[in-house]
Amino acid sequence: MKGGVGKSTLAVNLAWHFFWWKKKRVLLVDLDPQFNASQYTIGATAFQALIEGQKPTVWNIFEQYSRSPALPNPGPFDIKSAIYNVRKRADGARLDLIPSRLELAHTLRSPAQKEDLLSRAIRQIENEYDLVIFDCAPTESLLTYAAYAASDQIVIPVKPEFLSTIGLPLLAQSLADFKGQRGGAGPDIAGILFTHTEAYSPEEILSKKEVKAVANQRGWYVFDKEMPFSRSFPKGAREGSPIFGTSHARGFQIQRFAAMADEFAQRVGL
């Protein structure tokens, strides 16, 4: 519900962490028309090849039944054709990506009856993965509802600054609306995760206090571990590496992320 809180960085780094260190089968789904997670994960050359080769993306999941001159006979879509393998290991662990593309924004112009297409598609392959991570766009839309419908749990990254924290009730209300429409069915809030935290900042301390008070009032879990600010995260995005593979990343920053990922695993039952 707020840009710049580190959603894509968190999603990509969690995906790498569980693939590399925990030997899991991880699928990362980029649900943002800005496709930052795709840019981070596969880089420009591979992305261009993918688009030029007309390899399906997450856009095709939402538009599989949309009739157009280019696609006069639309029909059911095989989600496996949209999966791009980023890395795999001999032990079976792998990191896959369903990339996004700018044209996903066009989907938002005609959202009718599309919010369940993603969950239906994911159901076809969910048994092949230990963890599926959806990297959402910052504004509520069809894509947010599609992510709710396809998820068991959601993690809410919050940058502890006043305006950023207001994204928390906005997202929570959006989720409540979604569940309300579906008789209470929908994902649970796995927790609120503070991102971009610094060593010392009064505004940050006050914001955390406020978030914890609201979370306590409403029964939401707040992660004990955080994703602290580190120059290694943007550097890692440029290098196409998770923080543990980023050049000159400090050991204590890598350890902090790993500790947070462990708490995440515990919360989501991984």
């Binding site: 006043f162 924290t165 207001i166 928390l168 009730p169 906005l170 929570a172 209300q173 409540a176 209470g184 809030i189 610094e198 060593a199 010392y200 900042s201 009064p202 301390i205 006050l206 914001s207 206090k209 406020e210 978030v211 008070a213 609201v214 009032q217 409403r218 029964g219 939401w220 204590f252």
Partner: protein, 190 residues
């Protein structure tokens, strides 16, 4: 108006006149034209000048320099602690953190060192960050949380997350789990 100081004062006053406009000057001129006010003002200015000469700018710069020197040493020995303490020192010295000298002295005393509210702010700040630097990083973090929560003003209700949460979450501050229970009861009844 022959003397140089008078001419310099006039130039300074002209600058201030341009900054503040004519009204404050007129009302101030009326106030200080009375003999009592004039004497009182002159006395205050003399006292301030004496204090400034005794402990003023030079001393403050010197102490602030000591804080900087201590932080510079810390940056070599323990850069992680520096991240915590540098901004704390800046916030206290720049008064971004609304803590009085008396409260600062109490904080230093709480950590086991002698201090009084009459000590210069720079000295108190130096003492505080020196004492904190002896703690493990985790203890510094938790100390700073308590410290800021104690001295930073709580946000106005109008500018608080809880106000926005109540406004955005349409059912008011009701717990998620309570809603879940209600839903369960509804289903049970249905």
């Amino acid at each position: 108006m022959k003397s140089l100081p008078e001419r310099e004062l006039l130039v300074d006053l002209a600058k201030l006149f341009r900054k503040y406009g004519p009204e404050p000057f007129e009302s101030l001129a009326l106030r200080i034209s009375s003999p009592e006010s004039s004497a009182h003002l002159a006395s205050l200015l003399r006292q301030s000048a004496d204090i400034a000469r005794r402990e003023g700018v030079n001393s403050a710069t010197k102490k602030s320099g000591e804080v900087d020197r201590f932080l510079a040493k810390l940056s070599e020995s323990d850069p992680e602690k520096l991240g915590h303490l540098q901004r704390l020192a800046n916030d206290i010295l720049s008064r971004t953190l609304p803590i009085s000298n008396s409260e600062l002295a109490d904080a230093v005393k709480d950590l086991g060192e002698r201090a009084t509210s009459r000590d210069p702010r720079q000295k108190l700040t130096l003492s505080l960050i020196q004492l904190l630097a002896r703690m493990p990083t985790e203890d510094i973090q938790s100390y700073l949380h308590r410290f800021v929560e104690r001295f930073e003003k709580s946000p106005d209700r109008d500018r608080s997350l809880s106000a926005w949460a109540d406004l955005i979450m349409r059912d008011g501050p009701k717990r998620e789990r309570e809603r879940g229970q209600e839903r369960g009861q509804e289903r049970g009844q249905g």
